[in-house]
Symmetry: C2
Subunit: 142 residues, 2 copies
Amino acid sequence: MAPTHDPQLLKGVLSLLLLRLLAERESYGYEVVQRLRELGLTDISEGSVYPALARLEREGRLHGRLVASRSGPARKYYRPTPAGDQALAQGTESWLSLAAVVHPVLVRRLPDPPTADPATAGPPRATPPTVTPPTATEDTGR
Amino acid sequence: MAPTHDPQLLKGVLSLLLLRLLAERESYGYEVVQRLRELGLTDISEGSVYPALARLEREGRLHGRLVASRSGPARKYYRPTPAGDQALAQGTESWLSLAAVVHPVLVRRLPDPPTADPATAGPPRATPPTVTPPTATEDTGR
DNA sequence: CACCCTACTCGACAATGCAAGGTACCTGGC
DNA sequence: GCCAGGTACCTTGCATTGTCGAGTAGGGTG
């Protein structure tokens, strides 16, 4: 992804990604950070991930267990609880249906800039017919 | 989209959508709310939209002008400034590249749940090879 | 010992959507 | 006149969550 992203866009997404990655494979915090980096999300720092993990654990969505390491400090492994699985399913649906709306809007053509904008304060041009919203299943192909 | 969405997911997205819709066509606040609703975003209330519009105007990204209405109250029309156009371009790129990461992760298959989890505290299974991150251009088709 | 890597914690902060409460201008019915 | 409904707008306090910056601790190596 772009080297810098708007932090606001990540809100709600980070915890969803964490649940998802940990549903795929149990991991410890540092490893999760690395997996996020491998996905291209290089701007996400440990200072963001650990509190998010702690929050999900506190909410009962993640189960954490401390495992002594043979060399180096102990590792805290996480995986989703059933409540976490449910949150993941709901959050996934939520994100997918939002993206199904946002993506087509962002990629469709912009109209040409208006020429020689009239300086009058007249009302803008009449409302054109509304576009039909895409269905939530429109963007599931990959 | 789903009747209820996680409000956090909308952070950063709402202002992006506002810039986009207003770049396509100058509109007044109430009309923008209706256009968002037509897109399927029925959970977005005016209490969210007006402060966002005011914020974008204060930041110099939107230009607002009050137009008296023939019947009913005056309408405040908005359209993006050049700074707003730039913010839209950057925000669009940011969202698209984030979505290019998030979407494939959310739709790929989950592994089967592990059977009869061993109750021992042994370290989890060895780390499998990492998956290659998708490119940012992977999800531009529609 | 110092340094580096691994692995984790924590508190203050900023940003932004949301809920709730309101205001004002019209029109139509009683 | 009053009231209800619709249009159109405004505002404030709040909750949430990622970010930043600062740290801690366990090992191995020179």
